[in-house]
Amino acid sequence: MILSSATFIHVGQIHVDRAPGAISTVLGSCVSVCLFDPRLQLGAMNHYLLPFWNGNGLQSPKFGNIAIPKLIEAMLQHGASLQTMQAKLFGGASMHSLGGKSMMIGEKNVLVAREILQEYNIQIVAEDTGGQYGRKIQMDLERGKVLLKYTSSAQTEG
């Protein structure tokens, strides 16, 4: 099912929404953490490019270790609780076209998500990461499900 009301997010954005909304994005070596609180039908998604902030420039959620705590904080602010919050993890492909393999950006992006989610004791209930293809995902907040499709080429950015 296609939800026309889906909010599309870019790199560095964080979006929180409630049912019947939907949040979508397109990922290459980037990673999106999707959080969902079934009790409230409340969900949030981020989209980050690199695992770590290097201390330069603004502390923008383009970096995993900024984007994930901020995502969790945003959920808590909207009334979600850590006990009922579930996480799903997507992206982190090795994009050859971007020389991603040698830097292992995708892998590191996934690793940082696992580490931080574990720290907060948030369970990862589903994930689809790695590989060589980009992904398009859409989080349906009515059902708390994430729809996923692979790109047909290894050319996707982000």
Partner: protein, 270 residues
């Protein structure tokens, strides 16, 4: 086997970086919180002042009029600083909403120069605009405004007295190029990484918060662009490139539109 070793090593090192980064973030988090707090606290009264000031009536008197003009200029100046703080806080919270409009560069440049008139007059600077973009482009006008205003206000603020500021705009392939040249020493090339960091500014600079260029950089990157500067023979050149195509299609993260607009009919559900 070798592959596994490398992966383990990467995992180990990544954890290490995460730990170290946490210490760095703790010290920086205070800045982030302060930034968003201050931005909002300042913005609300500012909005009221900006609205109310229009309704003030001036008793016809030369000195009154001058005072009033000065207040207006300073209010605009203050508003600019606050808007910068707001932008920085927005970027840091991941709460940036892109908009795509057909914008006339000429109008935006005119608008920016109008708001900087006081600063420019004060320095007795001469602004020369060479706008080589004759058609309208699709961009986020507000963000373009912030970028241009920061570049030009920096040029006026940090440049020398009676200087000449040049603004050049042109299209290069898919990029809109903005180039601001001003006379003056400019930030040392060796400080390049610091210059784009928030709350950092050129060591010799006397005023400013040091958030302007960090915002410009983030916004430029957000549009798939770049920012850089060069210093040569007593002049500083800041160049910002903004990717137009991506903004136009509203699909920065997407290589193929077919894929982007494709339905989720046979998608995997997780």
């Amino acid at each position: 086997m070798k592959q596994e070793c490398v992966e383990e090593e990467v995992a180990f090192l990544s954890k290490k970086i995460l730990e170290l980064n946490k210490q760095l973030m703790e010290s920086e988090n205070a800045k982030s919180k302060f930034l968003s707090l201050v931005a909002n606290e300042l913005n609300n009264p500012m909005t009221v002042i900006l609205r109310m000031i229009e309704h003030l009536k001036i008793v016809e008197d030369e000195s009154n009029r001058k005072t009033f003009e000065l207040i207006c200029e300073e209010v605009l100046n203050l508003d600019f600083r606050i808007q910068n703080l707001m932008s920085a806080a927005e970027i840091e919270s991941g709460d940036i909403h892109p908009s795509h409009e057909l914008v006339s560069l000429e109008e935006i440049i005119e608008e920016v120069l109008k708001t900087l008139r006081y600063l420019i007059d004060n320095k007795n600077a001469q602004v020369v605009v060479a706008n080589r973009v004759d058609k309208k482009v699709v961009l986020d006008s507000q963000k373009l405004f912030i970028i241009l205003r920061n570049l030009l206000s920096n040029a006026a603020l940090y440049g020398s007295q009676n200087e000449r500021i040049e603004l050049e705009t042109m299209l290069e392939g898919d990029f809109l190029v903005l180039r601001v040249t001003n006379e003056g020493e400019g930030p040392d090339i060796e400080y390049k990484p610091q210059i784009f960091t928030r709350f950092a500014k050129a060591p010799k600079a006397e005023s400013g918060l040091g958030v302007g260029l960090s915002i410009v950089r983030e916004l430029a990157l957000y549009f798939g662009g770049t920012i850089d500067y060069e210093v040569c023979q007593g002049s500083v050149v800041f160049t910002v490139k903004l990717l137009l195509d991506a903004a136009a299609e509203d699909s920065v993260a997407c290589g193929s539109n077919e894929f982007f607009f494709d339905s989720f009919d046979d998608a995997i559900e997780l």
